[in-house]
């Protein structure tokens, strides 16, 4: 469970990226975070993933207050999340298999157990036959799916994706959203940031709508 209570984030030398944001996300929900670019979507995701700490307010992740935690324990909080970055952040110096292996390496899982999990993750995103391929040779959609495989390989309970369909055409985008839905159906909390409000309209999921760092209350979002 993730709870934001009056959270404000200000970057040094900049305006407030988020102002007094409060919400709760239950385990197993699928949430969209929308808003124009610069509205604070990425900042919100970074606060959830314990990559940034709030300037003011309280961020609770599974009842742990992130701003009270020591910096040295933050990496262990981060491992609860599977992250899909806006720019993939794939490593182009190694093949698909070893890209997906990175989170397991960080968790100290190696050998046969790691191989099993990596192939399962690649299978889930439909890239099992590409494990020896270098990611630079993959298409945009395939790279996105590889990034998802890396995010889910350590079996996180929360999956966070920043603009996962940003650069993809409609068919690919639908594939990716379907993939995320599949993870939600097995109990994973899924949080997706997207500027593409149209893509979310079809779904009956909760939407956090941001405008210039402020959360717009659901009743103001009269469709």
């Amino acid at each position: 469970m993730i709870t934001f209570d009056n959270v404000t984030k200000r970057y040094p030398g900049s305006h407030e990226a988020l102002t007094n944001v409060s919400f709760t996300i239950e385990q197993g929900e699928m949430i969209y975070v929308t808003g124009h670019s610069g509205a604070g979507k990425s900042t919100l995701l970074k606060l959830i993933a314990a990559i940034e700490r709030p300037t003011n307010g309280i961020v609770l992740i599974n009842n742990q207050n992130v701003s009270k935690l020591k910096a040295s324990t933050l990496p262990f909080i981060r491992r609860k999340f599977g992250l899909v970055f806006q720019d993939h952040k794939l490593l182009y110096d190694r093949n698909c298999y070893h890209n997906v292996a990175l989170p397991l390496l960080i968790n100290g899982i190696t050998g046969a157990e790691a191989g099993k999990r990596i192939r399962a993750a690649l299978d889930k995103v439909g890239l099992l036959d590409k494990e020896k391929v270098m990611p630079i040779t993959l298409s945009g959609g395939e790279q996105q799916r590889l990034a998802i495989a890396r995010a889910v390989v350590s079996r996180p309970s929360i999956l966070i994706a920043d603009e996962p369909t940003g650069n993809l055409d409609k068919n690919y985008a639908e594939d990716i959203i379907a993939l995320f839905s599949a993870f939600q159906q097995v109990g994973v909390t899924v949080i997706i940031a997207t500027h593409d409000a149209l893509g979310t309209a079809n779904y009956k999921n909760k939407v956090l709508r941001l405008n210039q760092g402020k959360l717009i209350a659901p009743d103001e979002v009269s469709a």
Partner: protein
């Protein structure tokens, strides 16, 4: 414990794989470190060997007490008993002027010349080996003996040893300074190499941190790299110094043979080996640690 071991093995494997991928680069850097280490090692071995030579000679060092030519028998007995009573004398040997003349004539094969002398020009002499060999106690002993009646002259035979000792002390200081300066050079070489590696792996480091890698996890492979450079550098340093010493030894033994002595440089001792590895690995670890800490966590908390 098991996880700890796995993580360390992982890091070690990763580092060895990286080294394998870049054998030439690793060799060149290790060689540079080796050359840097070889200089103080060779200097140390030379000084150590010379020091050994000096302490060998020092054991034979003594005072020669020459008596006046016109001393009489009671005077001689008096001197002898005084010397025997002296507690700072280890051994005492009396050589009468007749014995001295005999020794000279038998040693130098010019009996004719010595026969032609009308009277023995040599004095009676005592040869003394003191218990304490440091210069101040030898000086005290010398002045004590000089005061005795009938003593013409006391000669201390270790003046050149004293000078050599000062030179050796100077050499040791020079070696220490050299080792410290070259230690900084090593520090820079290894630190820069690690920094280069960090740059080429910046993306991996960034992603790893984002998905939950601890600082230790990221630092570990680089620390192993630093330690490995130290290890390989130490190995090269010892190989280079052994090779140089063996090369010089051929000429040295030939030279020493001309002086009827048997001198050659010994190869670095076990202690030198261990000290070299410890020094090199410590410098490697330390410079890697600093390089990683400085480069990694600036932009990310």
């Amino acid at each position: 414990m098991n996880l700890w071991l796995t993580q360390h093995l992982q890091a070690l494997k990763l580092v060895l794989a990286r080294f394998k991928n870049n054998i030439l680069g690793t060799l060149l850097i290790s060689l540079a470190i080796g050359v840097t280490l070889a200089l103080p090692i060779i200097l140390y071995v030379v000084l150590d060997n010379l020091g050994g030579l000096v302490s060998d000679v020092k054991k034979e060092s003594h005072l020669s007490v020459f008596l006046k030519l016109d001393h009489d028998e009671p005077m001689l007995q008096n001197i002898k008993s005084e010397l025997e009573k002296n507690t700072s004398i280890k051994s005492l040997q009396f050589v009468s002027k007749e014995d001295a003349l005999k020794q000279i004539s038998s040693a130098s094969n010019n009996e004719e010349l010595i026969d032609s002398l009308e009277e023995n020009p040599l004095p009676d002499a005592f040869f003394i080996e003191p218990i304490l060999l440091d210069s101040s106690s030898v000086e005290t002993l010398k002045s004590q003996i000089s005061k005795l009646e009938g003593v013409e002259y006391v000669q201390v035979d270790d003046a050149w040893i004293k000078r050599l000792n000062y030179l050796l002390a100077l050499g040791k200081k020079a070696m220490l300074v050299l080792a410290i300066l070259l230690g900084f050079a090593l520090f820079a070489v290894i630190g820069n190499t690690i920094r280069m590696q960090i740059l080429t792996q910046q993306e991996e480091i960034e992603v790893s941190q984002l998905i939950g890698a601890t600082k230790g996890f990221i630092r570990r492979p680089f620390l192993y790299s630093g330690a490995m450079y130290g290890l390989f550098g130490g190995l090269f340093g010892l190989i280079i110094s052994c090779a140089v010493i063996l090369l010089f030894n051929q000429s040295l033994t030939a030279l020493a043979a001309e002086y009827q002595t048997n001198f050659s440089l010994s190869l670095p001792s076990m202690l030198v080996h261990v000290a070299t590895y410890i020094f090199a690995i410590t410098v490697g670890l330390f410079s890697a640690y600093l390089a990683v800490s400085k480069s990694l966590f600036k932009s990310f908390n």
